[in-house]
Symmetry: C2
């Protein structure tokens, strides 16, 4: 059963709508907001004057781009940077970073740190994360009270309510309830997000024309990850962050994967798999723990130079990715794809076999029209995604509070 709409929900939802319109459009005038939301001018006027009085929005007098039209000039509304702040934490292989972002989305402060996540004991890993958050919050320039949300992104599987890391390739530890820990320690609401999901979120903010309602972000790295947006919403599994594209089965009983199973896409397309094939090791051999970006770049150079095991390794990676995408397209129909991560720089080596494989699948009818974009640097993307996710939470849950959905809200399938 869907829950009925109470009268007080109305204002709450329309407030959220106005905030979100401002966040998306930058500096829209009240008139523009009325147009995009479909609400009347009077309503927008009332809501925005509330929001300005509360210090959430501000009239932007700064940049007046002299409206060439005659008539009263539109006055842009902008997010007030001081209305709140959020903190993002990105935890990836041997690397931890944190940043404070103001309400308008600008990075205020940042810190990066190398650490040996693979060997680090559980307590120390947690302690490092807590410590970097504490250092950012202790920044004397920062009004701690304004930090309204923490978003921690991590490679690996998180649970569906975004409370905990369930499993991660960057550490042998499992089931770390980061969200609870952060909330207990700092009293600030927190979520734990999957890195690839955050990449997808960021891509949508960066290029809403290309990445609109349906698209796929694939992380080509030591492992293979995916962030999936369908019908304008981030797709997650029913229990976990889901979208474990890298562990769809490419060849039943095939190459040994880092996850211990056989034949996963990752066991052909992850850096370790490309490395394993390029060095002509057996597909049954244990994946190496890490391949440096420099080694992978050297591999790509050799693969471009001459036909040999290196080129063949990339071909196999492309084939695995292609058949995987083909299966995915069978389920969700073809959609734009972004290839993210260091190995996206070698996408020229991967693409031919990938396209050839897709052409042999149900998605193949449109294989020509499927477009791939590459973005070698995943970390900024992940941080941006975290920031937008945390800010959207503030927009909707803190600055437009009220009747929250109860548990057990069900939709009507028919």
């Amino acid at each position: 059963m869907s829950v009925g709409i109470r009268h007080d929900d109305l204002r709450r939802r329309n407030r959220a709508m106005v905030i979100s319109a401002v966040r998306r459009a930058g500096q829209p005038s009240r008139t523009e907001i009325a147009a995009t939301t479909g609400l009347s001018h009077s309503t927008i006027s009332a809501i925005s004057s509330d929001l300005i009085r509360e210090g959430i929005l501000a009239e932007s007098k700064a940049s007046e781009p002299v409206s060439l039209k005659r008539g009263r000039p539109q006055v842009g509304l902008a997010l007030n940077p001081e209305a709140a702040a959020v903190l993002t934490v990105v935890l990836s292989l041997n690397f931890l970073s944190a940043a404070i972002i103001d309400y308008a989305g600008q990075v205020v402060a940042e810190e990066q740190r190398r650490l040996d996540t693979l060997t680090m004991p559980r307590d120390e890993l947690i302690r490092e994360c807590m410590a970097i958050v504490r250092r950012r919050l202790d920044d004397p320039d920062l009004d701690v009270r304004s930090v309204a949300r923490i978003a921690l992104a991590i490679q690996g599987i998180t649970d569906s309510p975004a409370r905990a890391m369930l499993w991660s390739p960057i550490t042998p530890q499992t089931d770390i309830a980061f969200a609870d820990m952060l909330e207990d320690e700092f009293g600030i609401p927190a979520t734990v997000e999957n890195d690839c999901n955050m990449m997808a979120v960021a891509l949508r903010w960066r290029d809403p024309d290309r990445y609109r309602d349906d698209f796929i972000a694939i992380l080509l790295s030591h492992g293979i990850g995916m962030g999936l947006v369908l019908k304008g919403e981030l797709f997650t599994g029913t229990h976990s962050s889901g979208g474990e594209f890298g562990h769809m089965i490419h060849r039943p009983g095939g190459a040994l994967c880092r996850c211990g199973r056989r034949g996963c896409i990752e066991a052909y397309a992850g850096n370790y798999a490309i490395w394993r094939n390029a060095t002509q090791m057996s597909e049954d051999s244990q994946p190496v723990a890490d391949v440096s970006d420099a080694d992978m770049r050297a591999l790509a150079v050799r693969a471009r130079e001459k036909d040999g095991p290196e080129r063949e390794a990339y071909r196999k990676a492309g084939e695995a990715l292609g058949f995987g995408l083909g299966s995915l397209f069978a389920l969700i129909d073809p959609a734009p794809v972004a290839m993210v991560g260091a190995s996206a720089a070698a996408f020229d080596l991967i693409e031919p076999a990938l396209r050839k494989a897709i052409a042999q699948t149900a998605g193949g009818q449109h294989s020509g029209s499927i477009s791939f974009d590459t973005e070698p640097n995943e970390l900024p993307l992940i941080r941006e995604g975290c920031a937008m996710r945390a800010l959207s939470f503030v927009d909707q849950q803190i600055f437009a509070p009220g009747a929250q959905m109860r548990p057990g809200v069900r939709k009507n399938v028919a």
Copy 2:
């Protein structure tokens, strides 16, 4: 941009909520509706008295199950069967059926017909569909004006707005815009639905406890189809009905599929594939056009009797389905599965290999807890799903009309 909520949407949505509560619960009292929707008694009272005055609901005096409690007895609200009617059409291999369903969901009239869909020319196929609809609408007992919606379900791929059949295994014809044709011919709004999606819809109405927010319905028939419900909503592709589980790739370059490609799950688990393997034909040989249910039953009997090619064929089917489900579970997390269709009766032969395969995949961690249900008869399920889908449309769009969503409504991904 999501669109703002207008004041008049409020009543519309809450009306829809009340109708849907009655449809789901059968004969709920006003008090029960207030509880499930979270709306106040006064609001429910006002809305339901409107609905009764408009002839959409009726107070059910018939079955008074003498409320053992003291106090004023609850009076149940029920859908008024005469408020409207819908027409369902199910087109499957060599078979066409149509039914009139009253607003309360009861079948009023029904007609079934055999026809040779595989060889029938395009015009004749369309003519047959139109004719069966016309005959049902011409029924003198029926008030034609009350037929508010037509839902046509067909095996194969339909487009995402449910207007046309794009491709179907039951006919060589493609791209038939049934919805437009029906609307032009009869002036009644119509949709074209994928058969497996309707199965999923029906399962949810039949057993909402088991098939609640996330589940999978798989049709084991000549081909392999899937209906998928995720987060309480029917999952469709971005352009088509999507969910082409049968054409996910099981073995790259493997057995020849009916679709002309190689290695699809269907090329191992469809009836024709089981038949091909059981009769020890090459995996490269052309799929047969049809295998009778009797032949398949005989095959299952032989497979149960002794180990041999028949049993091996079922084992291969189970393996393909298992690896496919494993890949699917990697994307969406494990969920309850319903196996529907004639071959579901042979699920005992399929299950062992299927479970063994799932155990080798990412979903395998929970392979023991994944439960399978079987339902050998798909046709009633498809018709029920069509009926519920059409009725829900009437509930929401006709009896709770008003500000419809505009195109271009976007949600906030972050």
